[in-house]
Structures are given as C-alpha cells and as structure tokens.
C-alpha cells in the first residue's frame, strides 16, 4: 500500500486586495499525493495552480484547510519539524533568468542550501557541488562561472542542482520548462525523470502544457478558477475526460500531427475567463459551458467519485 506523502484537506488561499475585493486564488482544494508519484497540476492562467504550489511549499499560509505531510499537520510542527519540512520540500521555478543571483558563482548557487544550514565541511560541500553538476549533466569546469554565461536550459539545470543539494524528498516544479526551447524542454523533463528514479522523489508538476504533463505525470488534477474540477490517473483522464472544461481543454491543444488536426472538429470554448474578483455561485465554469443548466448554480463543492479512481466536480454527475 503506497503511503500518502502529502494530503491537502479543504485548502483555500485568499488574497485580500481591499475590503470588498478578495481573490480566492485557491478554493477548497483537497488531494493526495503518494510517495514517489508525480502529480500533474494543469490549468490556464489564473486557475490557482502556482498559488497552490506556493501554499504547499510554505511561501503562503493557507487561509483555511490542512496540509498534512507524512502524517503530520504542518501547522502543528515544532521548530525542528518546520525546518525539516522546509528542507524536504523544494521548489523549482519557471523563469531561469530570475531564479539565479547574477552575482553568485555556480558553486555558491548550488551549495547555498548547504551553506545556509552548515552541512558538511568546505571540502565536502565542494565535492557535493561537483557531484551535482555531474548529476544534472553540466561540466565540472562550470563551477566558477556566472549565470549570465549559461543558456536557459543550462540555468534550469543549475536550479535543479541547487534544489537537490539538501536532499529533498518532494519537489514542486512550477512551470519548469515553459520558458525553454522545445528541444531543451525534453532534456529537462528526461533529467527530472531520471532524478526521480534515482532518488525516489515525489513531484508536483505544475504546467499549462498538457502534453508534457501527460508525459511525466502519474496522476493529474485539472484546475479552473481555484478549484480542482477533475482528478484522475493520467490514462483515465486523457482517454476518458469527463468534465466539459477538461474536454474542451484537450480539444484546444493542437497536436503535432496534421492529419489528426485536419480531422478534428475545431470546436472552441466560447467566452473568456471571468474576473477572479466576481463571486460566482455554484459552478465557476457555468458561464462558458455548453452543458450548463439551472442546476449548475447549486453545484455541490465536492469531487464526485465516478469510479476507476476518477473524480469530477460537475452537476452532470450529481445524482
């Protein structure tokens, strides 16, 4: 029985802009990530996936809800526990150009975690840096260079090396490849997979590129306006999407295959994402959904189990 490394229970994160303007960036999200698994979180801009990632990491505190890591509620951790959580849970960011301090050498960048926590001797730290450079496929000679001397893909490798230095167990990848060239994206994704196998890491992979998410994830959650509206194992989700938004999302993504594209019914979702400031009762997708009914104003805020470990939040499945 695989154990759950991370469990989220009814987590919400609000941003208060002013008295009556509150953005519910993450709205009552519950999910479970198993040890060694890759959980893919997809959605378009404004859906809250990045905010969710940062809330899990601890950059934001959840407004309500529980985050349970290895059986412990992180709210109840003592000082040591919190420190350990910070170290176990690492994050990789999207922009390789602002993720590295332009004034620090590669050595200082990668060893930063070790330096902060005073791990090992100076020599041991240097050894570790060389080891990590090798692990991420970079040349040893790069150790005294500066970030601006590297390409986007190489910088992302440095970011990964830095995250690995303090032996994390869980890595949150927030759009780690969106800013990279296509041929380089594949290299980074392969690297992430190799590292996962080697170190038994658990990943939360946040992206808007569904094809990459499909490739790398075990389980996938689809977010829309702060809520997870569909959740399933990847084969099930991509072969048998149930939520109208998921279906439309999958249909919108052009596939690099001209014949398939020509034969596709080029149907698109009408309308645009509503403003996050406007409170919408019931289903958030109802303004754009082709199957909307009156029932949708009263959608229950719960994922419905439709069998085969597949969950959907939609009135079409309410009894």
């Amino acid at each position: 029985m695989e154990k759950a490394v991370l469990t989220l229970k009814n987590v919400s994160k609000n941003f208060v802009l002013s008295k009556n303007r509150i953005i519910q960036a993450v709205n009552n999200v519950s999910l479970q990530i198993l040890d060694g698994e890759t959980f893919g979180l997809v959605g378009e801009s404004g859906c809250g996936k990045s905010t969710l990632g940062r809330t899990i990491k601890g950059i934001y505190k959840p407004t309500v809800g529980e985050i349970i890591y290895n059986g412990n509620n992180i709210r109840n951790l003592n000082k040591n526990g919190k420190k350990q959580y910070t170290r176990d849970m690492q994050m990789i960011f999207q922009d390789p150009y602002s993720s590295l301090n332009p004034r620090m050498t590669v050595k200082d960048i990668i060893a930063e975690g070790l330096n902060i926590h005073n791990i090992g001797t100076k020599i041991e730290r240097e050894e570790k840096v060389y080891e990590l450079l090798g692990l991420v496929g970079l040349n040893r000679e790069f150790i005294s260079r500066f970030p601006h001397e590297f390409s986007g893909g190489q910088r992302q490798r440095l970011v990964i090396a830095r995250a690995l230095a303090i032996n994390p167990k869980f890595i949150i990848c927030d759009e780690p490849i969106s800013a990279l060239d296509v041929s380089v994206q594949a290299q980074i994704v392969n690297l992430l997979q190799d590292l996962q196998d080697k170190f038994n890491l658990t990943y939360l992979f946040i992206a808007h590129d569904l094809s990459m998410v499909k490739h790398i994830s075990d389980k996938v959650g689809v977010m829309y306006m702060g809520k997870i509206i569909e959740l399933a194992y990847k084969q099930e989700l991509f072969n048998n999407p149930q939520h109208p938004y998921t279906k439309a999302l999958l249909a919108s993504i052009p596939v690099p295959d001209p014949v398939i594209e020509r034969e596709k019914n080029q149907v698109t979702i009408k309308g645009e994402l509503p403003s996050l400031l406007i409170k919408i009762d019931g289903c958030k997708f109802k303004t754009r959904c082709a199957y909307v009914t009156k029932k949708c104003d009263y959608l229950k805020d719960d994922l419905i189990d439709i069998g085969n470990k597949h969950y959907v939040m939609c009135t079409l499945f309410e009894k």
Binding site: S252, V255, Q266
Partner: protein, 349 residues
C-alpha cells in the same frame, strides 16, 4: 489560395548584429516565399533567426547594431530593402501588416482601441469619419469581439489578453493586407484562447485571401494551421516544405529530432522523450560547416568542414549533406529510424 502566385519572396537575406563582443551572424543567406492565400509557418528555436528575418520584411531591423549585409525581399515587383521611408510607410500597416506577441507594447495605452484602428484606416485611405467608424465596427465583429459598439470606445487596459490580440488582428486586417506577419501571436495566451485566435486566422486566410506568415516554435500550432513550413536553425533555412511532408517525412535530422522531442497527446506510452543533445548555437563565432553538425546523430566529416548545399525536391528543399549523391549510406541510416512520435494514436474526444 493560389499555390503558384508568390506574393512575397525573400532571397539570400543575410543580417548581422555588431555587438561589443563581435559580429553575431543572426541570419545567414535565408530564402523563402509565401504564396497567395496560404499560411506559411516559420519554425525555429531561440537564436534561429526567425524574428530577425521577418523584422527585415517590414524594415524593423534595429539600427545601428543590425546590418543587412545582402539580400532582396520582393513584394509587388519591388525590393523592399531598397525602399525609402516614405515608400515603406505606404506598405507597412497597409499591404503588409504585423502583430506581435505582446499586444500591450504595440498598442497605445492612452488611446481608445477604436481610435487606433481608425487611425490606421485613415492613414492609407481617403474616407469619411463615419465610414471608418463603420469599418471599425465591422472589423471588431469580424475578429469576434462582442459588443463592438461598446468596445470601440474602450482603452486597451479594459481588454483581456485574448481580446487585445483580437483587436490587434482587427487593426492588422483594417486595410485588407496581402500579407500578415504574426510573430508568436499566442505564446502569451492560454491554450483555449489560442484555439480561438487560430480559428480566426483560418477564417481570415480563407475569406480575404490574406497570406499569413506565422512565426512560432509550437509544432502543434503549425500542424493545425500551416500549409507550408520553413524550418530555421542557426540563422539558416535547413528545410522547407509542405506541412504533411515535414511531419510525416522530415528530411533534416533537426526537424526529425524536434518532432521526436515533443510529447504528444496523441501518443500512448512514451517513456522517455528522445532529445537532441546540446543547445542551439550562439552565432558569434560561427563554426565551419553546418551549425547543427555537433548535435546531429548522422553527421559526417564533411558536415564540419563545409556548409551543406541546398537540395530541391518537387515541393520544398533541404540543406543537408545527407542528400548528396555520395551520402547514400548515412541517408539510409537516417531514413530507417522512424520519427519517434509515431506510436499508437490514442482516442480522445
């Protein structure tokens, strides 16, 4: 669409940038053409020269750093590179228009959207104010902007990203251009909005017979909308051809590698993406021979010594030594390996 009517042709275009570290040869002897009413995709990664080549079409090469060392861009019988500013201004915004990735930088935030579109109309046409107003409403409707009578009086900041891009397209189509250049028009937009924008492009291309030059790195988008594809690498055209041929029978190892490196929703069970090792070149000290040779599985000795010649086919061409009559063995080697994107297609709705 008229396959045989070349609307715009770029020939032997070479552009370099003079920087403090030396000369960066961004575009090296690039040539391609676009036919009437077709959608031409220019595909390439960073440093491939795709943006720089198309900037030159509209005379937007940044000076003084950028120098056009040679080449011709033929449009309506004239070489655009030889035009003066006055002549150019009759073409830009009128017969050849462009939209960019970030509409916020192309639009004046202090002017109403309607006014900006009407300004373009008046710049190139002698019409009354009420005519331009009508035309603008028509354009907004055409590009799918709802409530055009309200939107025409709004400012850019009141539009969402997708709407802004539609407004940009409306502006670009205002004078029924022969050629529309779209430089990564949807990279900053969500996928669902992207789909809407591309439907719009398809419609425009058909209804107005406008040729569209689409610059992108997204091979899915190219498959969806382009008739022909030009692949750029290291400042050169390494392959061009009809879309189907490029995807199902890519001739250049880079094209094949690029297709293999993309995970596809249509494929089952990919375990590991096949990658191209290394990174795209920085064109400061251009190495001898083919710039892709270092990363190419099928490279031969000649590839690092001489730049490959270009070999033409019925439709399209490729710039690669594999197609030299003496390279038959390596060519067989290359052709025998399937592009790895083709496994079973999954059925998805």
């Amino acid at each position: 669409m008229n396959k045989n009517n070349k609307i715009l042709e770029v020939k032997n275009l070479t552009i370099s940038f003079h920087t403090f570290v030396g000369e960066v040869q961004a575009v090296r002897d690039v040539g391609f053409h676009v036919n009437e009413g077709e959608v031409l995709a220019i595909v390439g990664e960073s440093g491939s020269g795709k943006s720089v080549s198309t900037q030159a079409i509209l005379g937007l090469t940044p000076k003084p750093a950028g120098v056009i060392k040679s080449g011709e861009i033929i449009f309506e019988g004239k070489d655009l590179l030889k035009l003066n500013d006055n002549e150019f201004s009759k073409i830009r915004g009128n017969k050849i228009t462009t939209i960019f990735q970030d509409p916020m930088t192309s639009l004046n935030p202090t002017m109403k959207i309607g006014s900006q579109i009407r300004e373009i109309i008046h710049q190139h046409n002698n019409v009354t104010k009420s005519k331009s107003y009508e035309k603008t409403i028509e354009l907004l409707k055409l590009t799918g902007i709802t409530d055009p009578h309200i939107r025409i009086g709004q400012y850019p900041h009141q539009f969402s990203g997708g709407m802004l891009q539609r407004a940009m397209i409306a502006m670009a189509m205002a004078n029924s251009p022969k050629v529309l250049i779209a430089d990564e028009p949807t990279t900053a937009l969500d996928v669902t909005i992207q789909a809407q924008i591309f439907n719009l492009f398809r419609k425009l291309s058909k209804e107005f017979n406008t040729s569209i030059i689409l610059i992108t790195h997204d091979l899915g988008v190219v498959a969806s909308i382009a008739h022909r594809v030009v692949v750029l690498y290291g400042g050169k055209v390494i392959e061009q051809g009809e879309t189907d041929q490029i995807y199902y029978n890519p001739r250049h190892p880079y094209t094949k590698g690029l297709l293999s490196a993309m995970p596809s929703l249509a494929i089952e069970g990919q375990n590991r993406l096949k990658t191209i090792d290394g990174t795209p070149p920085f064109l400061l000290n251009v190495p001898k021979g083919c710039t892709f040779a270092k990363r190419c599985e099928y490279a031969m000795e000649i590839c690092v010594q001489r730049e490959p010649d270009t070999y033409a086919f019925d439709e399209g061409s490729v710039s690669c030594w594999l197609y030299h009559s003496q390279a038959k063995d390596q060519l067989k080697n290359f052709q025998s390996k399937e592009t790895e994107m083709y496994g079973k297609s999954s059925s998805y709705s």
